[in-house]
């Protein structure tokens, strides 16, 4: 047993024992203890300007006593600190109104083996992140660059008063950077299990090529356009579909578009939440084992994400998607993968660009999709997307980091950023997906542990409602 494992499990066990002692035999409780070593090296104007690291520990306790529920958390893991946490959470629960929807605790169940963690990433030094940043900057060929390189290592133990325990570790590395030329930006972004899998030079060169291709953009009138979205843009679709659509709480509240069993998406769409498809913790905030969950299969909505509370309400079982604070926000699928096409489009050969736009397309998948477009837009990234109506999932936002006009299968020129207002499920609806790339590329979220993997995607129509100039 590693030092981390024994320490975190011991602390979680101490919390549960304190609940038994102070709350009586009827008290039900679960506790999660997580140690985290998080570091992020940030650069701007082609220099490291912020370089941060933290080594923290957190304890989260949820308890149910005399029919009432409360949650507490803290960073003080001394004997006195743990006792104070239990005492104040017990006091809070006793003052709360009854909780008739309490779903009970996760019973003792085996948790799956999590993927192995890369120790080098877990213990990465600031020099290693700085060197990747340096490589990114150098590869940008004199363009101004900005972004980050980060590593994350979590060691987490779960225990509850029903006798269930679980332990896991996760590591993650991510790099996200832009290159800038005359105010036009190009981006490259990756999430990986190992820092060594991140190639700063490759990413810097890709961002620079896109920035060069984004120069001198033209203004385009708003309207409906066929689009090819790169994986960074598709990641935004997946995140919003997950948070607002496949969320079991929102479904129970009738705020979700999701209708299990209905063919709501194009037949090419298969969405799987796959938390252990990359380094990740093998259990959720309630200790439930995590596993792959197919949310959409060949266009038909198959499942929703549940925690124990929403599962009881739906007459289902928890799918292992409980998150801290989930009573309010609901369960979240945070590791969503849009499956790529089994075989690439027939025209999937080479890059399809011309003149100054030659660096706009960075991979063969995207090139193949672009080649099939008579007139449309190549979109790299979406930005500041906000939901106008959760049930129809109408979202507004802007393009960012490069948009190009496609004519007759060729990227012909850069265009200025555009604002859109679009219903995400409608845009992915039956008949709306005209093509998928073959390879899902993993994109980091703003926080470690969440990621979105997608290939490039060609959609029949996207509603651009205004130019960024007015």
């Amino acid at each position: 047993m590693s030092a981390n494992r024994s320490t975190e499990l011991e602390l979680a066990g101490q919390v549960i024992e304190l609940v038994r002692r102070l709350g009586g035999p009827g008290a039900q409780a679960d506790a999660v203890v997580t140690r985290a070593d998080l570091a992020l090296t940030r650069f701007a104007n082609s220099a490291i300007h912020q370089n941060v690291a933290e080594s923290s520990v957190g304890v989260r306790l949820r308890l149910h006593v005399d029919g009432r529920t409360a949650a507490g958390s803290g960073s003080v893991v001394t004997a006195d600190g743990l006792r104070a946490l239990v005492e104040r959470t017990l006091a809070a629960a006793r003052l709360c109104p009854p909780d008739p929807g309490w779903p009970g605790l996760t019973p003792p169940t085996p948790t799956p083996d999590a993927p192995p963690v890369d120790e080098a990433t877990a213990h990465a030094e600031p020099d290693q992140r700085a060197d990747r940043v340096g490589a990114f900057v150098a590869a940008a060929g004199g363009l101004s660059t900005a972004g980050y390189c980060r590593t994350a290592h979590r060691s987490s133990a779960f225990a509850n008063s029903a006798g269930h325990t679980a332990y896991g570790r996760s590591v993650e590395a991510a790099m996200d950077g832009i290159a800038r030329r005359d105010g036009a930006d190009g981006v490259a972004r990756r999430c990986a299990d190992r820092l060594s899998d991140l190639d700063g030079a490759e990413l810097g060169a890709q961002a620079a090529a896109k920035a060069q291709a984004a120069a001198d953009p033209a203004e385009l009138p708003p309207g409906r356009y066929e689009v090819v979205f790169e994986p960074a843009a598709v990641a935004d679709l997946l995140q919003n579909l997950s948070w607002y659509g496949f969320n079991g709480k929102r479904y129970a509240e009738r705020q979700s578009f999701a209708e299990p069993g209905a063919a709501q998406f194009d037949s090419t769409v298969t969405l799987v939440d796959d938390p252990l498809g990359a380094s990740g913790l093998p259990f959720d905030a309630e200790g439930t084992a995590r596993r792959a969950l197919t949310l959409v299969e060949a266009g038909t909505t198959r499942a929703l994400a549940h925690d124990r509370r929403t599962a009881v309400e739906a007459g289902a079982e928890s799918t292992g998607h409980a998150v801290a604070g989930g009573a309010t926000w609901g369960p979240m699928a945070r590791n969503l993968r849009l499956s790529g096409a089994a075989a690439g489009p027939a025209s999937a050969v080479g890059r399809s660009t011309t003149g100054g736009a030659a660096g706009a397309v960075v991979d063969a998948d995207t090139a193949a999709l672009v080649a099939g477009v008579r007139r449309g837009l190549l979109v790299t990234d979406l930005w500041y997307t906000r939901v106008l109506d959760p049930k129809s999932l109408v979202v507004t936002g802007l393009t960012r980091n490069g948009v190009w006009l496609i004519e007759d299968g060729t990227v012909v020129r850069a265009v200025r950023d555009l604002r859109f207002t679009e219903s995400y499920p409608r845009a992915l609806g039956p008949g709306a997906v005209l093509g998928l790339g073959t390879r899902a590329v993993r994109q980091p979220d703003r926080v470690d542990g969440a990621w979105w993997a997608a290939p490039s995607l060609r959609l029949a129509s996207w509603h651009f409602t205004g130019g960024a100039s007015g």
């Binding site: 992020l40 940030r42 701007a44 104007n45 082609s46 220099a47 490291i48 300007h49 912020q50 370089n51 941060v52 690291a53 933290e54 080594s55 923290s56 949650a71 507490g72 958390s73 960073s75 003080v76 104070a84 104040r88 959470t89 809070a92 003052l95 709360c96 008739p100 929807g101 600031p126 700085a130 101004s144 900005a146 980050y148 980060r150 996200d176 832009i178 981006v187 509240e253 705020q255 604070g325 009573a327 930005w383 997307t385 906000r386 106008l388 959760p390 049930k391 109408v394 507004t396 936002g397 802007l398 960012r400 950023d417 604002r419 207002t421 703003r446 409602t465 205004g466 960024a468 007015g470």
Partner: protein, 478 residues
């Protein structure tokens, strides 16, 4: 070992390891929130966190390290690690870093608080939310939700220049919302705003909101919205309520005048700014009615403090005067880089986060009118209020906002309620179109301002009053 001792040890260790400047901040924060839904408490959460963050400057490079341990050994180790991290930063170095001068002081400061929010019995707080949400459910809301949040933060700041400052900031607030669900869409009404109202104050703020008294009305309005006519599409005169104008200020002025954005430090994530420092003092940002101040001294507003997280004292400054851009939100290093002589707007959302440029209270000075006078002076337009959605481009120019509710304005009178009101525009063009401004100012608190990597949540305040804007595009839909 006191909190000051820990911070001092961290700073000294950083200097011993080679830093030319260091500061350290111990923070002890207690947080409590409760949500209620349809007459039941949904979630009660309490958190207590204490730790130390130390910042070290080596040459032209910064490093930061944070630990939840205030022992002498842990504090010194954190100081050394911060310095080592700064040395790693030097592998990709930037321009020289200077810090604008700030007087080193020994000081204490505390925000005002009449009723300790953590001292109010949980049962009383629960009864408040349960009662209000039950009333909303009884008046037709499908989802009746209520929320309060409380932060009680103590900070101890030490710098290698001699600062020794402790502060206690108590913040709280809350609100309610009613959602009605129809075929294919939802409608929501809130009181007093989407997430509620917040300030650096005690529980008296929540009591003053009188949530129960407004529950029935917003529930009925949310249901009525389901069948209200859609906001028409086109250009028209737009009257914004104060709560929505507060967010307009936040997004299209507050973020745009952040000096770190202007300097490109947020380029990859939060974005840059359309503002060019060469135009500071001369650029026309808006109409002559537009007077925006940066004022962390407003008693009770959510962006108030005694000293920022670099030890700079709270000072009121102009950001826009008579429509002309004259000031920025700055920190000591960004100000020096821009050849400005002030900082004072740097904060971190916890001990584990690097202090960075954040809004304090960025607000619009009042005008001469009342909302009713503005309506009476409007022949044809739309009144919108309470934010529902917000989106703005990475240079803070093109925005689109959705509001919970609109009202038709015809011949100086408020008419029918309108559904799904949205408006869009370009920041400076929009602000130049402001031609009437009310004096009914409220300092709206925004407790959820996201910025930075790793992500930080900032608390900001925005004094705002209703105003009129001419010829604005409204009614954008999918």
């Amino acid at each position: 070992m006191t909190e000051f001792d820990a911070a001092t040890a961290a700073v000294q260790a950083a200097l011993d390891a080679g830093a030319r400047y260091a500061d350290a901040r111990v923070m002890h924060r207690r947080y409590e929130s409760m949500t209620a839904r349809n007459g039941d408490v949904e979630e009660l959460t309490q958190d207590e966190s204490i730790g130390l963050g130390v910042r070290a400057l080596v040459g032209a490079s910064w490093g930061f390290y944070a630990v939840p341990d205030l022992s002498d050994a842990a504090a010194r180790d954190a100081g050394r690690r911060a310095t080592r991290t700064a040395m790693a930063s030097a592998r990709v170095p930037g321009p020289p870093v200077d810090l604008v001068a700030v007087e080193a002081v020994t000081a204490s400061w505390a925000s005002g608080c009449q009723i300790d929010p953590l001292g109010v019995p949980l049962s009383d707080k629960g009864d408040l939310l349960v009662g209000a949400t039950r009333t909303m459910a009884e008046h037709g809301a499908d989802l009746a939700e209520g929320l309060y949040q409380i932060w009680d933060t103590a900070k101890w700041f030490v710098s290698s220049e001699g600062h020794r400052i402790d502060q206690r900031i108590r913040e709280c607030g809350g609100g309610i919302s009613a959602t009605s669900i129809g075929d294919g869409e939802t409608q929501r009404r809130s009181w007093p705003s989407y997430r509620g109202q917040y300030g650096t104050t005690g529980w008296e703020l929540v009591e003053s909101l009188d949530l129960a008294a407004h529950a029935a009305q917003i529930a009925e309005e949310s249901r009525a919205l389901l069948t209200a006519p859609l906001c028409p599409a086109g250009e028209t005169d737009l009257i914004l309520g104060g709560e929505q104008l507060a967010l307009q200020i936040h997004e299209s002025v507050g973020h745009a005048i952040e000096l770190d954005r202007i300097l490109g430090w947020e380029a990859a994530f939060a974005g840059t700014s359309w503002l060019d420092l060469a135009q500071l003092g001369s650029l026309r940002y808006g109409s002559e009615l537009m007077n925006i101040t940066i004022d962390p001294t407003i008693p009770g507003a959510l962006g108030s403090f005694g000293f920022d997280d670099e030890g700079s004292p709270a000072v009121k400054r102009d950001a826009v005067r008579d429509g002309r851009w004259v000031g920025v939100l700055a920190g000591r290093d960004s100000a020096a880089m821009a050849s400005l002589d002030y900082g004072g707007s740097v904060r971190a959302d916890g001990w584990a986060r690097l202090p960075m440029v954040r809004m304090t209270n960025v607000g619009l000075e009042p005008g001469p009118h009342t909302l009713e006078e503005i309506i009476a002076a409007t022949d044809d337009g739309v009144l919108m209020d309470l934010n529902r959605s917000w989106s703005i481009d990475d240079k803070r120019l093109n925005f689109q906002f959705g509001c919970e509710v609109g009202w038709e304005i015809k011949k100086g009178r408020r008419g029918r309620m309108l559904r799904n009101p949205t408006y869009t525009g370009i920041g400076p063009l929009f602000w130049r179109s402001m031609d009437m401004l009310s004096g009914e100012t409220v300092s709206w608190g925004t407790p959820n301002c996201g910025k930075g990597q790793p992500g930080q949540v900032g608390h900001t305040g925005h004094p705002a009053a209703p105003a009129r804007f001419r010829n604005v595009r409204v009614g954008v839909s999918a």
